[in-house]
Amino acid sequence: MRVALLDDNLALGGQIWRAEATRDVNTAAARWIRRAATAGAKMVTRARVFDAPAPGVLAAEMNEGDEERRIELRYRQLLVATGARERFLPFPGWTLRNVLGAGGLQAMVKSGLPVAGKRVVIAGSGPLLAAVAAYLRHHGAEIALLCEQAPASQTAGLALALAKYPGKWAPAAALVWQLAGVRRATNCWPIAAEGDEVLRAVRVLRNGRETRIACDYLACGFHLVPNLELPLLLGCRTRGGYIEIDEAQRTSVANVFCAGEPTGIAGVDAALIGGQIAAAAAAGRPISARQKRARRRWHRFGMALDRACALRAELRLLAGPETLVCRCEDVAYARLASCRDWRDAKLQTRCGMGPCQGRVCGPATRFLFGWQDVSIRPPLFPVPVASLAAAATPDTGAEPAFEAVAGKNDS
């Protein structure tokens, strides 16, 4: 089969593998990417899919340094593996400088930001926080406190579930909650970040009591949300907030498969299994009983993770009337409170209509107000007008050039 792999990043590997793969050839990440390359897959990096202009066609924006240009990719089968992003919730001060996403701060350190001797508070929900804490500590940061919003009873359930997943689980230590040497509190969340322009301190509520912690950085993230925009544009059905798939990772759209986080947030091993199953199915190969078992197990794990990270209702009350919810368009909480739904909010306040296209405030308002975003339209990402102007009239008679994989290749 002819296979092409498209990714919008400079380096392959996706969210957690891309840095690893370039640093060390002996990592699992590097091994997988090598295997894909030697198997003859065509790797197209810095290509961001922004439209599916016709059945069997993807349009992507290629970013080659100063040059941007549109490419079109024809496929017979498509595997969508677009990953996930962090969820942010608004609270007073969350837009101050040095209040960052947990994954965002990690990425900045990876690309050279020094944190040695800096005091960092990490807050939000989910295992990603622990991974980031370990990473920052390793780079010399002092973790003043890791605040997990969920009560201990909620995360304990997950610890039990974890115990049931042997083998592969040990290397994925990043997902383990217990973290030696880091002060960690459950039932604890940020209520305000303080400082004038730059962060100075964060006030947290811990078991009902307020504490003020001086710090240089506040790294936040309230678990992850799947990147569903592309599969939704393709018409894939969802179920329970994720793309609906069958046991071979097939979506509701013919010849479109989905794997990784859009099908459930369950970490790197789940993504690997899902990718391998989808690839086997696309190639007409059998799926082994072991793979099927692993898939079911990770699915259960993902559900347990979602329950463990379920957001507490109090977090809906954090934002004050003046707290910005949409940072692109400067829309404060008070203006949204009177809106009927997401569309009404967009039209009346322009919430979610800026460059990030609601990727940040969409998940936040879904939690705050129960709004569902409905309209997914091209371009999925901002692209130069010239690229949109260059769309050809689709000629469906052409030979498909590739079997294409959008997002990280894990097969």
Partner: protein, 374 residues
């Protein structure tokens, strides 16, 4: 909700329904506005918000000119969110033939008291440096403006509410006429008069209307303050917009208050749905780039579509429906409903209260199209 019966039930909370509600409520009528969704979520959400005087016919001129004045009067009280900007229009001529049209238009407008000015090629380049070189000139109409339509509709409706109107959102109307409005939730509301202001969907509630949905695409860019200063429209627009059969695109670019550039526009009949169509969007943007090559480099943020309610004679349907004493229409505004919403509100209220009409109502009366169809 209301006890006692309504004087006027208005179907549709687009900008036209909102403007009708405001006028009727201010004249002391008991008004209630119904919409299946929110306020200004139909064509009003999609429109460019160009407040523009047009001269396709005397009747169209009269309606748009009167409306432009009403917008200018309203301006001091408009909240910031409506983003009224007196950007003015530049009707851009690409050749001598279109320059002749500039002259004709100038004569027409001047004779009717609309301030305007013919602009040379050099002046045009100075006014809008991002236009391509080699254009022939333009007609500048400084009184034209730009608004943000959804917030304008919201404001007009808020004014109606301040004057005593009620609003029921979220339940579709399944039938109306003969003094009754029936909602999908089972409720039936009695009203002395009913206004069908459902835009392109009006024919679903009133049969026999010669209205066809005409789809349009738009694209908005990131913020580039100063990139465009006036609403720019090609004069070829007149040729393409008026073809009632073919799909067409035209160079039509607008500066938004935010510094964003809004790029239009396309016209299509018979579209299956409201999806953004890559080929149509591409055609439209290629046309825009032909006039303004630098647009190509701007970052395109979002594209969307909307449906205009098109009539065969390009004039709206405003007034009573023959055969049902209770029923009025306020629809068929095609690509001018943001502009003409205010005049429509006036006319509807005039006709209902028996006041002498603010401008001659005959050209817009539904009887002109319905009579020979019944």
């Amino acid at each position: 909700m209301s006890c006692g019966s309504l004087d006027v039930a208005i179907a549709g909370a687009g900008i036209v329904g909102a403007a009708c509600a405001r006028e009727c409520a201010r004249r002391g009528l008991r008004v209630r506005v119904f919409d299946r969704a929110g306020v200004g979520g139909g064509a009003t959400a999609a429109g460019m918000g160009h407040i523009v005087v047009m001269d396709d016919s005397e009747a169209q001129f009269a309606l748009t000119r009167y409306s432009q004045r009403l917008w200018q009067e309203l301006r001091p009280e408009l909240p910031a969110a409506v983003e009224y900007e007196s950007a003015g229009t530049l009707w851009v001529a690409a050749d001598e033939e279109e320059m002749a049209e500039v002259e004709r238009k100038r004569g027409y407008y001047e004779a009717r008291g609309v301030a305007c000015e013919a602009v040379s090629a050099a002046q045009l380049a100075a006014l809008e440096p991002n236009l391509r070189p080699g254009l022939t000139g333009a007609l500048l109409v400084p009184g034209d403006a730009v608004v943000y339509p959804p917030c304008a509709a919201q404001y007009l409706l808020a004014q109606a509410v301040a004057a005593g109107a009620e609003v029921s959102l979220g339940s579709p109307i399944v039938a109306l006429g003969e003094g009754r409005v029936r909602l999908a939730n089972g409720e039936t509301i009695r009203a002395g008069r009913i206004v069908n202001a459902c835009g392109a969907w009006a024919p679903e509630l009133t049969s026999g209307l010669a209205i066809r949905p005409r789809k349009g695409h738009l694209l908005i860019t990131d913020r580039y303050p100063g990139f465009v200063r006036h609403q720019l429209v090609e004069l070829g627009y007149l040729k393409s917009a008026h073809s009632l059969t073919l799909d067409s695109v035209a160079f039509n670019v607008q500066p938004r208050h935010t510094g964003q550039v809004l790029i239009g526009s396309s016209r299509q009949f018979g579209a299956a749905d409201g999806a953004v169509e890559a080929p149509m969007l591409a055609r439209m943007l290629a046309r825009a780039q032909a006039y303004m090559p630098a647009l190509g480099r701007l970052s395109g943020l979002r594209a969307w579509t909307g449906f205009r309610a098109a009539t065969p004679d390009k004039l709206p349907l405003i007034g009573p429906v023959p055969g049902d004493d209770s029923l009025y229409l306020a629809t068929g505004h095609e690509g001018l409903g943001i502009t003409t919403s205010l005049a429509t509100g006036r006319l509807i209220a005039d006709l209902m209260t028996g006041a002498s009409p603010s401008l001659p109502a005959e050209p817009y009366l539904p009887s002109r199209t319905l009579s020979h169809e019944n």
